[in-house]
């Protein structure tokens, strides 16, 4: 990218940059700028970007022996006074993102001694991100490996897996999300795909233990969501007790059910849930647990093709299958990836097409039949393309500026 237009002279730019950074250190919420200033990160470059209203970073390349993903490096653009560089590692986070304090102390030691003392506690890929300098890159990889984790998860490869906390700290978990998180990592085919970026685009696997979907499996290239068959289980005795004590309002529970599957007989004090209508919304369960619990017959719903970034805009996951265990779906993951790659060779799938784009191109029914050979058990809901952005002409821009300024006016006294 070129320098911003009307860029002020360096001394003015730097002064403005410092003013903006100082401003961002004020206010009641903890400031990222305050944290940056405690480290050896090039805070000045960040400030110049804010003053210029353009990202100050351009692409660079740092080679780390036998580490092909998870290393990201930048040079400051030539218009940034004084220049600078930025390098960071994406490090595999711990399962469930639990951090034992003795282990985390080792991470801070590595960050302080081999890095620049700056950590992004969880990146958007789910990684733990450590900033460093090129001189210490080789040493830092080995240090991280010596404490049981590693660098990886960028580029057109399988990205860091994501699982909700599952049975480790949640009573709603319907299967062991963390176990399957580990099993996927152990699978040699998956491990190879983490190392070598050769896919059309990134591939994400997400696992949620219950329909509340804390891991957002609905947006994964492949997502696993714990469910049960039929109605939730009701412990009527406990439920009545909770009603009598005033802890639960049965009418409210009835009203909150999205499918009207619950009825409460006031006279007999009986609660009934119609399993055929239950949408697994978790509304009754999360209000009345453990008097209402998920049903005993547990399954895992597998969805495919969800993502934000992709050729045809963001997509919600489509139904693939309902299984008893994640390993039933392991081969589908591999088959989906292999077919995606074959279709790239054939020229059907292009670089930067996600699985969802691939399914759009070959058709959902054909995907089920020809790629994974799975009978159709659900019906995907269609939605319009999910996008952000607009190409405005001067008149439209003026219209929105005016619209916004009226809201600013309305809120001025409160800001």
């Amino acid at each position: 990218m070129s320098a911003p237009k009307n860029l002020p002279p360096p001394e003015v730019l730097l002064k403005r940059s410092e003013e903006i950074l100082a401003e961002l250190e004020r206010g009641p919420w903890p400031s990222h700028v305050t944290e940056l200033k405690k480290t050896n990160y090039a805070t000045r470059v960040y400030g110049v970007g804010l003053a210029a209203r353009k990202s100050p970073w351009g692409p660079a390349a740092v080679k780390v022996e036998y580490v092909t993903t998870g290393v990201l490096s930048r040079w400051a653009r030539d218009w940034v006074p004084g220049g600078g560089s930025e390098l960071h590692f994406r490090v595999f986070h711990t399962p469930g993102k639990f951090l034992k304090t003795d282990w985390l102390r080792q991470v801070t030691k590595i960050s302080k001694e081999l890095g620049v003392g700056l950590i992004e506690l969880v990146g958007q890929t789910g990684a733990l991100v450590l900033n460093l300098t090129p001189e210490k890159a080789e040493e830092m990889v080995d240090a991280l490996r010596s404490i049981g984790t590693d660098v990886g998860g960028s580029g057109d490869a399988i990205r860091a897996l994501n699982a909700c906390v599952g049975p480790a700290l949640c009573e709603y978990a319907l299967y062991d999300t963390l176990k399957w998180y580990a099993e996927f990592y152990k699978d040699k085919r998956v491990n190879d795909a983490i190392i070598s970026p050769s896919y059309p685009y990134k591939f994400k696997i997400k696992m949620s233990g219950c329909p509340m979907d804390c891991a957002r499996a609905n947006r994964g290239d492949i997502g696993f969501i714990g469910v049960w068959v039929g109605a939730p289980e009701v412990d009527l005795e406990l439920f009545r007790k909770k009603v009598e004590s005033g802890e639960l309002d049965p009418e409210k529970i009835v009203a909150r059910c999205p499918s009207g599957a619950i009825s409460w007989d006031k006279e007999k004090k009986e609660l009934k849930i119609d399993g055929s209508r239950c949408k697994k919304s978790m509304e009754c369960i999360r209000t009345a647990f453990p008097a209402i619990k998920p049903g005993r017959e547990r399954k895992i719903a597998v969805v495919v093709g969800g993502h934000v970034k992709g050729r045809f805009g963001g997509k919600m996951g489509k139904p693939l299958a309902v299984v008893n265990s994640v390993d039933e779906a392991m081969d589908w993951v591999i088959k989906t990836i292999e077919s995606w790659m074959e279709h790239m060779e054939k020229g059907v799938v292009k670089h930067k097409d996600r699985i969802g784009d691939f399914i759009t191109k070959i058709g959902y029914k054909n995907y089920l039949k020809d790629v994974v050979n799975v009978p159709e058990v659900g019906k995907p809901t269609l939605h319009t393309s999910l996008r952000a952005g607009a190409v405005l002409d001067e008149e439209e821009r003026a219209m929105w500026s005016k619209w916004v300024s009226e809201i600013v006016e309305e809120y001025k006294s409160r800001l």
């Binding site: 639990f98 506690l121 978990a173 916004v404």
Partner: protein, 367 residues
């Protein structure tokens, strides 16, 4: 050890080795939970063990210095059970075994300047991509927008002011939307116009000779365009030219992802606002989010325009939604047209009022 050993990744498995002792001991044995004000939750195990978790808000883009992180570790060792947990949305949770200690942890981290909150009908977190901290394609800086929003919305996080239901906000610096754009309120930076390009340097992204184009080669910068708004053609002098067809462009920035010499005019950039998305199957189920306001100016460092618009959306939702309704659930019930009316949003080409239809997630199956 040979360096090729690095090809065998060290992965954090088996997972049980990575759990704090009390968590490991109670794996799969949790039977109940209780809330103790906002930001403190108690998990009760059938073994009688209890874990109290204190949820702490972190700086934008979840950036901390090692000095600050060590202070949290000290608190977790002194008052906790030697365990910290990060959430997917960047909150830092400290685990302990009694309510008394949990409240002491709350007090200590607040003294450090870090707020405790989340869970229930509050703002759970604002998720921000890295933007100007490291990204080469960012249009706007998400962390500084996040900082300003958090400064104004802190009482919604701590629970001093409650909301109809859970609220999440995502802030992304460009339409790649690494901060996500599928939650309750999403702000996504974009050019506000068709991209520009450096006429000389763009050659680095194009084939040298027009012959390649004649032979059917489509350079990636044109190929990635979802609307065929980038035309590449051979010039009479044998070189290659590029046109951006403004009428077809949707400002998605995909060309910018593959060619560093695609550019934009920063004075026209702004944020798009998308609302109503959620992942959870509660209420009306998982939902996508839709662009309702195509452009709001984004001017650092105070971003007053963005703050005012977000506050108005929250106010309109707070005033009109029923208890338990997230923004998407509420709009799903009253209709997008009604939302536009309450917000006085003019509908146009870039923000058609989409009425959500059908159900997503596990509701697409017959279970």
């Amino acid at each position: 050890m040979s360096e090729a050993e690095r090809l065998k990744k060290k992965l954090p498995v088996p997972y049980t080795d990575w759990l704090p002792e009390v968590v490991k001991r109670n794996l799969g044995k949790w039977v109940d939970r209780k809330y103790h004000g906002y930001g403190v939750i108690e998990h009760i195990s059938e073994t009688g063990d209890r874990i109290f978790t204190v949820k702490v808000g972190t700086p934008p883009n979840f950036r901390v210095s090692t000095d600050t992180l060590r202070k949290f570790i000290d608190v977790a060792d002194r008052l906790g059970v030697g365990g910290i947990k990060m959430t997917r949305n960047g909150n830092l949770e400290i685990l302990t075994d009694s309510l008394d200690k949990a409240l002491k942890i709350k007090e200590e981290v607040e003294r450090m300047g870090f707020p405790v909150g989340g869970w229930g009908p509050t703002l759970w977190s604002i998720n921000s991509c890295t933007a100007y901290l490291t990204c080469t394609t960012a249009v706007l800086d998400a962390p500084s927008i996040t900082k300003v929003l958090y400064d104004y919305l802190k009482p919604y996080f701590t629970g001093e002011i409650t909301l109809p239901a859970k609220l999440r906000i995502n802030v992304s610096g460009c339409p790649s939307a690494c901060g996500g754009f599928t939650t309750d309120i999403n702000l996504v930076g974009h050019y506000g116009d068709a991209p520009t390009y450096d006429p000389d340097k763009i050659k680095l992204c194009l084939p040298k000779s027009a012959k390649a184009i004649e032979a059917g080669h489509v350079p990636e910068v044109a190929e990635v365009c979802p609307t065929r708004a980038i035309r590449v053609y051979g010039k009479p002098d044998g070189s290659v030219g590029l046109d951006i067809i403004r009428e077809k462009c949707i400002a998605c920035g995909r060309c910018r992802d593959v060619c560093d010499w695609i550019d934009f005019d920063e004075s026209k950039a702004g944020v798009a606002v998308l609302v109503g998305g959620k992942a959870s199957n509660t209420g009306r189920g998982p939902m996508p989010s839709y662009q309702v306001i195509p452009w709001v100016p984004a001017i650092p460092p105070d971003y007053v325009e963005i703050v005012a618009v977000v506050k108005k959306i929250i106010d309109v939702w707070r005033t009109n939604a029923s208890e338990g309704e997230r923004i998407g659930d509420w709009i799903g019930r009253v209709g997008m047209k009604k939302f536009y009316q309450l917000m006085k949003i003019p509908e146009g080409k870039w923000n058609r009022a989409v009425e959500s239809q059908g159900e997503f997630g596990v509701r697409q199956f017959r279970i």
